[in-house]
Amino acid sequence: MDINEIRKQFPVLDQQVYGKPLVYLDNAATTQKPLCVIERERDYYLHENCNIHRGVHYLSQMATEAYENARKTVARFINAPESHEIVFTRGTTESLNLLATSLGMLFFDGYRASIPSGCDDHGLSASPSGDASSVGRNDSIKILITAMEHHSNLVPWQQMVQRHGGELLVVPMDDNGVLDIQAYEELLKQRPQIVTMAHVSNTLATVNPIKEMIRLAHQYGALAVVDGAQSMAHLPIDVQDLDCDFFVFSGHKMYAPMGIGGLYGKTEWLEKMPPYQFGGEMVDTVSFEKTTFNKLPFKFEAGTPNVGAALGLETAINFIESFDRQEVAKHEDALLAAAIEGLSKIDGIRFIGQAPERSGLVSFIIDGIHPYDLGTIIDKMGVAVRTGHHCAEPVMTRFGIPGTVRASFAMYNTMEEVEVLVKAVTRASNMLR
């Protein structure tokens, strides 16, 4: 694996900020895009742009085919059994909102009553069932999340239980940022309908034992949702092996363009779930009285999708797969280990998140120094990191800190960059004390 060759694929890395070479270590927020991805999207607009699924003409057919092939590539990448189990969305947040809204309707609005028996590929009838309103609030609604979730995997569920009347249960974690699995099992005994958890925490880097957690969730009759925003670029994903019911991710955190991401769901559940956005290609037949919905996955893709970005996502997946993924993981782990070792020599440093199994990033604070100050100074040295609560305020509250400094890695980062990071943080902390 030749990092210099890889870096040539990422022109954005080759620049100076404030007269210093850019050291980009904010990959957990978004990764940079390789030329092949940029060119794929550009090419689409140069030669192929067309609205899909509707035209009988040549370009439309080509674009539709390309888009559907991209879906197949995503399915293959995460080993989904069927490509109709992949719904394209704008990303993790949209996927989670889709789930919270649609599952909320399915479980708690009496939507079940409106599902025709023997519901086939053609989806649901949306004609009012009449008894949806009579089901009313349900006090037994429980959604189980973990203490380390990103706001995107917290707020949609919280709003869902508030809307339907219910309760959010939270799996606690210890001081190292490791989930308490015993407490998890205890909470499962309260019979939540849905369990949702990050595969990898975006603040603590913890790799959660999701396979075991999914198994336990099923044992207690709950559906299992996995937030894969931070894992897709780094770890191999096999949704059949995991046996999760849903898996969500963002393209832009895995070398793909912004504005595209996905939701994997088991056919069985996607079929039962009602659509949550309406219009466009997601319908089957429409009259003023009644609408029937298109089959999977289209019933969840209302309106014109981001076709160019979906093609970029496919190219990003091919890009990732063009490397020996184990070798990439080894390289990224080595960067992480070197960063931790270098930073640990700094007086007063405290790592937030010290789970035995971590991936992709390191979060820390330094005694008496505000993360914002540290980030401001090292920015001037060309080092791009993230400071703040990383959209996980409850995690900050849990550790009693205002925020952390977070350095996160991608395949194109180098050991030299880790050295610059360590030097910059050392120098800044001397200045700020």
């Binding site: 404030y18 993360p371 100050d373």
Partner: protein, 140 residues
């Protein structure tokens, strides 16, 4: 000294340093010397939430002049607050309201007052001017 003279003094101080590191070192020093808000005002009522760093601001009118005190949990933020306090404190509300703030540009700190920086400084500057406006109205 007039606001203009104070601003010129700050520009002169900053221009002694070519290196941004020295400028930030100076800002950090200024942060440590910020006139700190009285403990009784260091509460939510005087808090300006800027997402990443929190800022508390208080002002009072003495002999027709405004005096500010403040605090922040981030020292660079506090340094910039002190810079503004140096410029505004001890001036009349009218002078504060008509002040030109382009000196921040000249010393290369304007970016910190941009709306995209989630540090609370912009809201704090607005709050400083609001105090001046309220005092101006009350003395009319």
């Amino acid at each position: 000294m007039t606001i203009k003279e104070i601003q010129q003094g700050i520009i002169d101080d900053f221009s002694m340093f070519d290196d941004w590191m020295d400028r930030y070192a100076m800002l950090i020093e200024m942060g440590k010397e910020c006139p700190i808000i009285d403990e009784q005002y260091r509460n939510d009522q005087y808090l300006i939430n800027g997402c990443q760093s929190r800022v508390w601001l208080h002002a009072e009118l003495k002999d027709g002049k405004v005096y500010y005190t403040a605090d922040s949990d981030a020292v660079i933020t506090k340094g910039i607050i002190n810079l503004l306090i140096k410029v505004f404190s001890g001036q009349t509300p009218e002078d504060i309201l008509s002040a030109d703030l382009s000196f921040l540009d000249e010393i290369g700190l304007k970016e910190h007052l941009s709306p995209t920086r989630s540090n609370g400084l912009l809201s704090m500057l607005k709050q400083m001017l609001l105090y001046a406006e309220a005092f101006a109205a009350s003395t009319k």
